[in-house]
């Protein structure tokens, strides 16, 4: 080891506190990049490979019933490569281990060979064999929840009749990466099960021989998707087509895409913040180091060392810090990436390639952090190199202070001189103060971003499941039933209150724009279903016309007062012109609302319902559920509390982990900023502070001057951080998974703001106290006896 390297090593040991805090910020930046980038790649690559290998379709359509020959017609549409007609049916699964029956979605498998599109990835067991009518391949997560294995049986109500299905295999499908049942708000592995069954068995059970009610397509490369969808709708129109859609609107894909896009948006921004903070701190620390080592640099130069050697000396020093940080970051990143993918694996069911450090990603992260560090110390090193030795031997010219114009304000003229010292120091280096405050602001914003999701969570659940959906149980019917059906339900055991509404699938069309959704017809006096907007204010359905969610209005480019077309997907399937009488800013879905009677008029039908809402006596709920399951026309039963618990459990867990990690990360920034600034400040001002001690100032008074400066930076940073966090939260909401499915209201609780501020203050105070300890051991005499 040469002498300069020895010096480097000893200097670093002396600077260990500062080096370590900066290395931690680098580590967090690198870890962030590796985590996000690895997750992004793992999700993206796995998705692409999975879609390719299991032939995920490009276009989808549900319909009532069409003869198999219609598939040939579809095949003739220009741009269509593969047509795969299927039968898909909703079934109830009255599992022994649950009160409310689970929901199954039976998907037909071709009689011979594998499905040409939307193939099934069999994880255990085998495909059902043709001819064995009761064999099914079950969605693996559902099987796991219920302890089902190949050989187990599941009770299922097919077309009103109870069957016993035999599980022969467990599988996954690109169609159900995020499995969410029709009309559901989140995935629920316990209650929703896609199941695959041979075509002959389903057709027999549902009387669909020689027909299909679902079709998926693969398009030719470069095909015009929109044109294909329009043609598909035209062909399926006579067969009760419910509207064709592309991959983009396929629910599972749309949620997965949304998540990937969200990671992609953060993959640059978040690590960049950390590396920028590290670069800034390296600049602060190395500028001071070079000033302190002025004399040493002069001597080394005087004896003949080259400028490049001296520059390299400091570059090496920073490289050691960054290297330590990077290596820590790679380790932390690899671990976090794994944890993040574990978390994703709970929601997104796809075979994921993982378990290794993505080398190019790690290398990019390390290169990025070195680049940031070199930018950070560039000026300091330049200063060291360009200083002529003779000048370097002399003490540096004294710092120039000046009175700021603000001091002319009479009130400010009366402040204590110690306050003035703090003020002038800040005034002398406004940029440093500004950047330090920016660092604090970012740290605070990051804490808010990690936590705000929780805030909207409680109130929105309360709104949706407390005030809006006031029922305990909702029941969907396979077909509409007369209003008197409600009377029947009211007499079932345990039913306290009953209400019903009518839902109908439609295509909303305004000019060239259209979107498939539903119109919900609510009775005006409904006790069990009320409407609220995201601002938590109650909304009313106008006496006539249509109330639509504002997201749907945006999609259609329509506003209240406009007349739009509503293409019915049942009844006479006619097209009606309806006026939009208002919009509602709701958290879930893109539906429209009408008075129930108006909807009946629109459908040209008598009073009917297809969803019933029940308020029940909890002690008799089990009995009631059994009775409901026995009703042949019941398609699904939802228990609100279960839904709520599931939603809370899923989002709650994720939130907690994210809050913790981001809070720790942000703390690293706050600690590094305050600690390093305070250390440098102590080094710069030790003489002033010692003087004050000699003059009779107490330790507390002297600390107040040193830490006052840090306090100002922190307090300047806090309001900016609050604003930044608020805007960041808004930005993040706009990026959220699937805005058509769920829109988190913009709500940041005051306790989140308070929590963020407290974390920052605690981190700042602790860092400051670490430095204050050094103040106590200030050598009063030594400092005063030497010339700076």
């Amino acid at each position: 080891m040469n002498v300069l390297d020895r010096k480097l090593f000893r200097d670093l040991m002396r600077l260990k506190g500062q080096a370590l805090t900066i290395a931690l910020v680098v580590a967090v930046g690198v870890a962030n990049y590796i985590t996000l980038r690895s997750a992004w790649r793992a999700l993206g690559d796995s998705r692409a490979a999975y879609y390719e290998q299991y032939r995920f379709a490009d276009a989808f359509a549900r319909l009532k019933r069409a003869p198999d020959s219609v598939a040939d017609q579809i095949h003739d549409v220009q741009g269509v490569a593969t047509v795969y007609p299927r039968v898909v049916e909703e079934v109830l699964l009255p599992m022994d281990d649950m009160i409310t029956p689970a929901h199954g979605q039976l998907i037909s498998l071709p009689t011979h060979g594998r499905p040409p599109l939307n193939d099934v990835y069999v994880k255990a067991g085998r495909f059902p064999e043709p001819g064995r009518g009761n064999e099914v391949l079950v969605y693996e997560p559902f099987a796991k929840e219920h302890g089902l294995r190949p050989g187990s049986t599941i009770p299922a109500i097919l077309n009103g009749k109870l069957h016993e299905l035999r599980v022969v295999g467990l599988g996954l499908s690109p169609e159900y990466v995020f499995a969410i049942e029709p009309g559901g708000i989140t995935s629920d592995d316990e209650r929703f099960a896609p199941m695959w069954m041979s075509m002959s068995a389903i057709a027999a059970a549902f009387r669909m021989e020689g027909a299909f009610n679902d079709v998926v397509l693969r398009l030719e490369p470069g095909a015009d998707e929109r044109a294909v969808l329009v043609a598909l709708d035209r062909i399926l129109e006579p067969y009760g087509g419910l509207g064709a859609y592309g991959r983009k609107l396929q629910i599972s894909n749309s949620i997965l895409e949304g998540e990937i896009a969200q990671i992609e948006a953060m993959v640059i921004v978040l690590p960049a913040v950390f590396l920028a903070v590290a670069a800034f701190l390296l600049n602060v620390v190395f500028s001071r180091l070079v000033t302190l080592q002025r004399g040493q640099i002069a001597v080394v130069k005087a004896v003949g060392y080259r400028n490049s050697t001296i520059a390299l000396h400091y570059v090496k020093m920073v490289c050691v810090i960054v290297l330590i940080g990077s290596l820590l970051g790679v380790g932390l990143g690899a671990w976090l990436a794994d944890a993040m993918l574990d978390l994703y694996a709970q929601f997104f069911r796809l075979p994921m390639t993982r378990g290794r450090i993505d080398l190019p990603v790690a290398i990019n992260a390390i290169i990025g952090s070195f680049a940031a560090a070199l930018v950070g110390i560039g000026f300091a090193v330049r200063k060291a190199v360009t200083l002529p030795p003779a000048e370097a031997m002399r003490p540096p010219s004294p710092a120039r202070y000046r009175a700021s114009p603000i001091e002319r304000v009479p009130v400010l003229r009366r402040v204590h001189q110690t306050t003035m010292m703090v003020f002038r120091e800040i005034w002398r280096r406004p940029l440093r103060t500004l950047l330090s405050s920016a660092g604090i602001a970012f740290a605070l914003a990051i804490i808010i971003l990690g936590r705000f999701g929780k805030d909207a969570h409680g109130p929105i659940l309360d709104l949706q499941f407390g005030r809006q959906q006031r029922e305990d149980i909702s029941v969907n019917f396979t077909n509409e039933v007369g209003n008197r059906g409600l009377g029947y339900l009211a007499h079932l055991p345990g039913v306290d209150q009953v209400d019903g509404f009518r839902v109908t699938p439609v295509r909303f069309r305004s000019g060239a724009r259209w979107r498939d959704s539903v119109v919900i017809g609510l009775p005006p006096d409904s006790h069990l279903r009320r409407l609220f907007n995201r601002q938590f204010r109650p909304a009313r359905i106008p006496r006539s016309g249509l109330l639509i969610t504002n997201v749907l209005a945006d999609i259609l480019g329509a506003k209240p007062g406009d007349i739009i077309e509503v293409e019915l997907k049942e009844g006479d399937r006619g097209t009606r012109r309806v006026q939009i009488s208002g919009t509602i800013d709701e958290a879930f879905g893109i539906q429209g609302y009408m008075q129930k009677s108006s909807l009946h008029e629109l459908l040209r039908e008598g009073p009917t319902i297809n969803t019933a809402l029940l308020r029940v006596d909890p002690s008799r709920e089990a009995e009631l559920q059994r009775r409901l399951t026995d009703i042949p026309t019941v398609q699904s039963i939802h228990r609100k509390r279960t839904l709520l618990e599931r939603f809370e459990e899923q989002t709650g867990q994720t939130m907690q982990v994210i809050t913790l990690i981001l809070t720790l990360f942000a703390t690293a920034i706050a600690v590094a900023v305050v600690y390093n600034n305070a250390r440098v400040s102590l080094s710069v001002r030790s003489r002033d502070l010692a003087t004050l001690r000699v003059l009779g100032f107490t330790r507390a008074e002297v600390s107040a001057i040193l830490l006052g400066e840090q306090a100002v930076q922190v307090f300047l940073g806090i309001p900016f951080g609050l604003v930044l966090g608020t805007f960041g939260a808004q930005g993040l909401l706009e990026l959220q998974a699937d805005p058509e499915q769920f829109r988190m209201p913009m709500l940041i609780a005051s306790r989140t703001y308070a929590f963020s501020v407290v974390v920052i203050l605690v981190a700042a105070v602790l860092s400051a106290l670490l430095v204050r300890r050094r103040l106590d051991s200030l050598d009063l005499i030594g400092v005063l006896k030497t010339r700076e």
Partner: protein
């Protein structure tokens, strides 16, 4: 043998009593003071003479409560401050002692007047900062920052700052050490003026023997011991000093 103290009947405001100070420098013990007894009498101007390494700065620091002795007592009005804690020492400095150092030690971010106000803000019966500056003849420079003042001017501000709280004792450690002859004389004049007009008990450390002529009393230190302690009967004004 040290000479017998000719002032033993006068009252000492501050006194080092048999004070020793041992520093540990690595493996070596350095005896900076070896049983030194030096009283400081009310209102006098004492010059503490000695070559470098004789222990005079150590003695001054101990008298000024910047340091504590290894053994012996430091009596202020008869009370031993050598056994006081940090808080009491700070309090003692704050109330009673003014310091002037070789390197001025002004706060660079405060103007001359503000440097003085720094002290007057924490004192109970301070002079007005302007008054203190008047005393050292620098009222016209009061809004200048230290970097805008010459060395002599900075030292005069430092003296003004030291006396502005009207301390009982003014301790000056080589106050002219960094200054040229003419400026040094001007600074000594100010110290003399403070001693006479305010009656502040003053101790000046120097290794410059001629400065002793302006003192009421001269104590010489050598190798950590008092070599002599005498009253100066032929006191001259600083303007008459030569070296």
């Amino acid at each position: 043998m040290p000479e017998t103290n000719p002032n033993s009947e006068r009252s000492a405001i501050l006194a080092a009593q048999d004070v020793s100070k041992v520093y540990q420098m690595g493996d070596v013990e350095v005896h900076a003071l070896r049983g030194v007894t030096v009283p400081l009498y009310e209102g006098e101007l004492m010059v503490l003479l000695g070559p470098s390494g004789s222990g005079k700065s150590t003695l001054l620091n101990i008298l000024g409560a910047l340091d504590v002795p290894s053994s012996g007592q430091v009596l202020y009005h008869g009370r031993d401050i050598a056994i006081a804690g940090d808080r009491e020492l700070t309090e003692f400095r704050r109330e009673n002692v003014g310091f002037v150092f070789q390197f001025y030690n002004l706060v660079p971010s405060l103007t001359a007047r503000e440097n003085i106000a720094l002290v007057t803000e924490i004192s109970e019966t301070p002079l007005d900062p302007t008054e203190a500056l008047e005393l050292v003849g620098l009222t016209d420079r009061m809004d200048h920052f230290p970097a805008q003042l010459s060395g002599g001017e900075q030292q005069r501000v430092a003296i003004a700052r030291a006396v502005a709280k009207q301390p009982k004792i003014l301790l000056c450690d080589e106050p002219t050490g960094a200054l040229d002859f003419k400026t040094g004389i001007r600074v000594l004049e100010v110290i003399d003026e403070v001693n006479r007009s305010l009656g502040t008990t003053t101790a000046v450390i120097t290794h410059h023997a001629p400065i002793a002529s302006m003192a009421d009393r001269v104590v010489a230190l050598s190798d950590g011991r008092v070599a002599s302690d005498r009253t100066n009967d032929e006191k001259v004004s600083p303007a008459e000093l030569t070296w």
